[in-house]
Symmetry: D2
Subunit: 353 residues, 4 copies
């Protein structure tokens, strides 16, 4: 159920409706829009009895939401969600593409700074790096943990980039929300509902990666878990799905980008590094991701990929990332977007083939 | 690395080798077998320097393990793992098939007892039921939580069945290990490595379900996570994988049963309820699972499936479960297994088609 | 549309209805059943005007078929289709399981006879072998063509087994229908509609293999193509589908067996050789296929698999086929089936694990 | 095996080497390049004895081809294959993108001309339309057959567009090669090897669509079948693969474009109409396909999609196709390509979201 307020409804009227909803035993989610405020109601197994609400001052109409997801839905909020960051003009979901770059894992202060310097220079406003690594083997490098978070906080201080890093359980999430700017929930945890709820109680934005075999509905429902706890700053991330195809590590499903954008107001970025698993595929698929309409890119970059402790074969060299940025900078305007950073004169891509 | 002890090695010699391994900074996992004891070494990124160990009394040889999984591997332990339970002759991995049955979710004491009575009478030695339900929607019934666990403990007291129930995070795992006999890790959490490690520190056996798109190696590595923390009582569970096929909810991959059995000493059971998602497919696929060589079945049964709060369309009626048991009881001897419970004279299955 | 005749309707009345249907510009498919005859009507884009038919003598009722497939459907024909062969008690779809065995490809007279002797002795009533091989590479062995068919005809003469072999185009089909008893349409040609129609104009039974990524509906519609041309002797074959799983060559989808049996009267056999692609998986999955209710098995056997020109790694040694037969012979009675051949005393399967 | 000729080798020397290869019982495939001519050798099961060839005049070296595909491989031919058409500057694989557009099926002369006029005006140089339709149901519209081909020939005469249309068997291929400019082999026939060989004996270029679950290697091997018969004008087409995802009809795998381009010299176009199955996804995925580096697009356009006899839900309205062309025209230069047709001033895409 969704309460649409009149365009001239006062804040007080909105508050009164929310209060009434809570009194009825439900949860109210106020979503201000450019034209009007909508209030989502959750916590109801069946239908909400409308009579108590529809006659309240400022209420325009009550709408039954037709999808299993409510807060995620464009029915509730027509305008795109734009995630903003204090003291930065970087956004996720705004006109400027969100460019998130950095190593798979933070390995040392030296490594992090060497990479950060390069991706910052190339125009990235977000720095990614894993401090807690979900690895297939218990015997593989599992990340530097809090020490890694501390290094990333230094990177932010030095370069002004916002920090995106993964939390893998309640304990690491508490530390990630302390040190970082965006809490990443990885593909393997997309249906770790306990973790999603915990992220929903954080005040930091969440970057939710699509599970390896998640349907679009499951993906949106996972975001709904986060939003239902009150955190509305959720960005989605396509990172490839698992298929029979063996020429890439995963099959990057770019069609999910326009599909999400039809159904939801949430931004969606694309991770061609995990989506292909092969360095030589990252740049072409980054171009494609921007062209399809994604709100940003998340790219693995390493200054010495051959020595990386994880995912080296899919990490770009810094100069390859420069070239990637030059290319997407040319495509972005075609889809009405901009790419941050200094525009260096760059010829048309030579010899794509 | 794996230390194979001589067949006449004493307990003291085994202990001394384990102590030496720990002194070297690794972790020792002693696995006694019928003929000999093997000691797995984990915690080493690269190779272990063998000279310190190979000359110790009672050591026969040192073997480099060729697979990424070590403790899970038949290379380490040739004999099948049999999980035994105090005060019960039920096993998982023994000659008798492990029959685990019950509702998807515990809904009430009445519901649980009504179903428990029927599945117990039909021969099930394990009672399953969800107290913590990982649901796609945050607005769906999420389980009775601790109250559900308490009801299951009463079922155990009344009927003597061992309790199998899912833990979804650290908090629920602490309660599940207190109340239940087997901790289930669900498909969505198969790569929730933090939860796997926590389960590895429990003294209760773990039933690990295969993720929806997990390869065999990822499945075994998830079990390795549990075992690497010291809990060697792990049973695997095939529950269907996600494919393009739409005539069943998932595609039950029975070939994984002999595949696991070649590579690992761990038992593997099959869940045809989730594996097919359709009531009319559960019994034929249960027959097939026993015939392929599975160590047990996990079956959803509900006395009023049409009123079930979850998964009603895949739950058997109690009389259908009786029939299922009669059928698998006839197939089990062909694969050298037995099925618990009273053998009722039963004619050959009529009209399978 | 489907015309159900009264149980006492005469042959003449059936013929008159069929004639009327043809006069109306449609095609009539008479399907005699134990209780009654049903007449399927095809060739109509929309609905057939019923008034012309429903008042004819002997007509009981007209039924709108609810599925896209008509002739394939159990709505049209309730009884199972049993494919019978002249001068043999072998059937596909009868009480006795159809056991089809032989090499992947016919390589020489000596090879064919050596294998035929063994599979015949073990109880197979059908001999399979490829004379036209659809190979991924144009440079691989493509089969002995007509010479291979001639060898198989000799095998039939010598051992009395019926011959099953694949046709890959119109030209080879003309020869296959001349020499063989069952025309196999392979997985890669499941939607080669031109070939299906040609097979539908043959008087020989057709074994139709499921395509690598065919849905159940597409599978049944492919059979409908054959039947719509007038050939009602169609047997289906599950041979594994393509998924992300890499422990077998394909993922054998045994749930399709009961799914087919609910919707269709056509028999369905299982091919665990292609379905797993690994010799050590063939016997366990054969047991499972019989237990799930399949109407038969198609098994690759080679007396020298290591020298086979194709598919050696999935071919059983003759003695493994003997053991497979001993095992399925024990499972068959549980599902109300028999297995042909001499019943040799055989103990319960030892050491399935 | 591959014979690399010296850069200054004469035509006569090339002919002599080819003749020698044929005398040895193999088949020679001469592939002239900008710098040198290479001669592929096929028909050899194992290795070719090199001594007979390496000392011949004009031979630089003999190279063992490391892939199962030979003629398809960049090892044999470094330069991109560009398919050219008599009396037209349209190419497939050249600098200009190949834009192929038209209805799913030719339904009538009026329909074909109405659509042709629009797509021609928008810049398409190729007209597509099905005269032989491989339909899932035998009762669905199967195409106008030769009458459809005749209409397309008239379209060519009127508008100068080259005709692309599907052949489904030997019989239709004979007619398609007579009337059309490009013979399309559909996804369902990608491993109809008999048809591939027949297309390989045609002198018309072939557009080969990827099978629904074809790996990259299988896709390239299918092209190898065509080339091994002597037809070197083959273009590949990605049209989506089958996965669990249900928000699109297929999952468009754009990563296969750079993957093909690394391994093969053949051009590859993308079909976002079948690749998504939804009208509202066609334009974004077309942008992405051009951005990823595809050599062209194949787009379904219908002037009255709601009345189309097939695939109406994925056909663009002509004005949507105009808009698509305007958008890809802006992206093409970024990847060093051009788009044919009149460049109409077009603002940046508004509101992609």
């Amino acid at each position: 159920m969704l309460v649409v307020m009149q365009s001239h409804a006062t804040d007080e009227q909105v508050r009164a409706v929310c209060q009434k909803i809570e009194e009825l035993g439900y949860r109210a989610h106020s979503m201000p829009g450019a034209q009007r405020t909508a209030i989502g109601i959750t916590g109801n197994a069946g239908e909400v009895e409308p009579s108590a609400l529809e006659e309240m001052p400022g209420v325009q109409e009550l709408i039954q939401v037709s999808k299993p997801y409510k807060l995620v839905s464009r029915e509730l909020k027509e305008e795109n969600t734009v995630i903003r960051f204090h003291g930065s003009n970087a956004t996720i979901g705004g006109k400027g593409l969100a460019i998130i770059a950095g190593p798979c894992a933070i390995e040392s202060r030296e490594q992090a700074f060497a990479i950060a310097e390069r991706v910052h220079a190339a125009g990235a406003q977000f720095f990614r790096g894993g401090a807690y690594k979900p690895r297939t083997s218990p015997y593989s490098f599992q990340g530097l943990e809090e020490a890694g978070l501390r290094i990333m906080a230094e990177v932010r201080e030095q370069f002004g980039m916002k920090i995106v890093t993964e939390a893998i359980d309640h304990e690491s999430l508490a530390l990630v929300e302390e040190y970082a700017d965006v809490i990443q929930i990885g593909a393997r945890n997309m249906q770790n509902f306990s973790l999603l709820k915990r992220a929903g109680r954080s005040r930091k934005p969440v970057l939710l990666k699509r599970g390896m075999s998640a349907t679009l509905e499951e993906f949106l429902m996972a975001a709904e878990y986060i939003m239902s706890e009150g955190n509305y700053n959720v960005a989605l991330c396509e990172r490839g799905v698992r298929t029979f195809a063996d020429h890439t590590r995963n099959t990057l499903d770019l069609s999910v980008v326009p599909a999400v954008q039809r159904l939801s107001h949430l931004p969606i970025v694309v991770d061609p590094s995990h989506g292909t698993g092969k360095r030589n595929k990252v740049t072409p698929l980054s171009r494609a991701a921007v062209a399809v309409g994604a709100d940003g890119l998340i790219i693995e970059v390493h200054h010495q990929p051959e020595k990386a402790l994880s995912d080296g074969q899919q990490s770009l060299y810094p100069e390859q990332f420069d070239e990637l940025m030059a290319q997407v900078r040319q495509i972005a305007p075609v889809v009405g977007r901009t790419v941050p950073g200094i525009v260096v004169a760059s010829p048309a891509v030579e010899a794509v083939r």
